[in-house]
Amino acid sequence: MTPRRNNAPDASGELATSANRSHDTASTVDPLAAGGPNSKYRLAVSVLIALHVAAVFICPFAFACQVSNQSMSPFASGLYGLARPYSQALYLDHGYFFFAPDPGACHLVRYEVTLKGDAQPIIKTFPSLDDQWPRLLYHRHFMMAETLHNTYAPPTPPVEPTPPPANSTRQQKTQYNRIDLPIYREAKTTYDARREQHLALRGSMIKHLESLHPGGKVKLIRVEHRPLFPNEMTDLGKKLDAADTYTDLVEPTVAGGAQ
């Protein structure tokens, strides 16, 4: 047997020697190795592995268990609550719903900069392959436009349920207190959070664009661009950038002017 060159444990606590070249001797020097001496080490690492793999699984599972009305399976919701601190810290909290459930419309942002005086307003759209290169930089702008759309919540909050009158039945009062009011409160909390996210994102985009055009006022419009149906191309001869495939998603104005 050749003399051992390096017998000291490394940073992971594994012994690295010149003798453990092949699989038959590795187990005698790697305390983590299967069949090796230190089963307590392996047990501890196994627990960590199991918890981590569980966290990797739980987030997309919880995402998949969320349905169209935003409600989630209680089991999935409970698990996600447990895993969330770890998952979010390690950027594991994703659904992996790539082009799912269906490839849908794409979203862009058109911005209009009104300059002082008689200067022509500047109207541009992002993402734009003309302005953003390489492709990854274009895709970053594309994702920001999609995020602005995905965070959108209309200016009108959910409607608070009307309390039952004093002479209502016990069942009506129970319906209000135990069902209608909690549903409303949860919807309101979600709405407030989304609206705050959207307004903050929208505000920072406007501020960024105004910093590029000092003195100008910026207005953002979300634009939805739907893909063509196959027969629109084959039978009607439309192109992918046909004008009627673009729709401005205008922010409704709340009565009183507030938005």
Binding site: R42, Y91, P103
Partner: protein, 348 residues
Amino acid sequence: MNSLARHITEWFRDIVVAWDRFWFTPSEPHTLAMIRILGGSMLLYTHLVWSLNLEAFLGKTSWISNRASVLLNKGYDGEVYAWSHLWYIDSPALIWTFHIIALIVFAMLVVGFQTRVASVLAAIFTLSYCHRLNGALFGLDQVNAMIAIYLMVGRSGDVWSIDRWLAIRRGDLTPPIPRASTNIAMRLIQLHMCVIYLFGGIGKMRGETWWDGSAVWFAFASLEYQSLDMTWMVRWPWLISILTHITVFWETFYCFLVWSRYTRPICLGLAVAVHGGIALSLGMPTFGIAMIIGNMAFVSPELVKQSVAAISRFTIRKSSTNHDESKVAASKLASTTMPATTYVRINS
């Protein structure tokens, strides 16, 4: 009853042995090293692209302000479990300083210099950028973060690295040692890829277009994604529907079929085809390549080692052939300017 208890006990024991074998069998580092080089290069490229407009993404008047970034990370319960050093700095000097440090760390990871330290710092920087730039991210960043985290676990610098070269210069000629930590890192990447594909497939199965065979058309018809015009396929609806069905079934059953040596080549081949297609035609070359890098976790270190050796031999042979050819060309050139008697002497 005793027989039943015995069988159950044996079953549990078999599970423990199988678990041990799955996770703790020492593995050579070649696959992980290749993932380090390729995944590290993708991390470096990703962050280099931020450099093109760094202050627009991270500065005082960035696209996504620090406040918006924190809110995008905040759950509906009001809690934020993400963290980014970039939330606390907005001066151009500090942003650029930390950014250049990050780029150096990613470069160190690629070349395998101080790999253990570089891998930890690379993971920290990757996560920090992801949390700060939430809102401008997509699948590429999810895979980047996954690879960065798992590169911390194994010894990816044990081979094909500056660390290895320096160790050889110091006289340590022992070949790379198979380690359980390397195997753990590879298994974590493998399982994570399985989770990605499983839920990618499940998500698609909830959609109508993935069942009626039109989903791939709608992806090709999305102008904002398009980098190669594939809309000619509209005349071949059966081709579109085949691609659609293959995609969703391959994704969903990947996590079962990739483990068997009989079906693994098919799974990995389809991965290269699907992600290569995404890279070429849907304008996401970085995401496509990153997913292919993740799939590499299923390639054995022995095969990676042999492939690299074969490529090295081919390259050396090619360069020595080119060198010989250039020597012959040089001597021919010299002979055309020399007296005929000398020319005859060279050729004899």
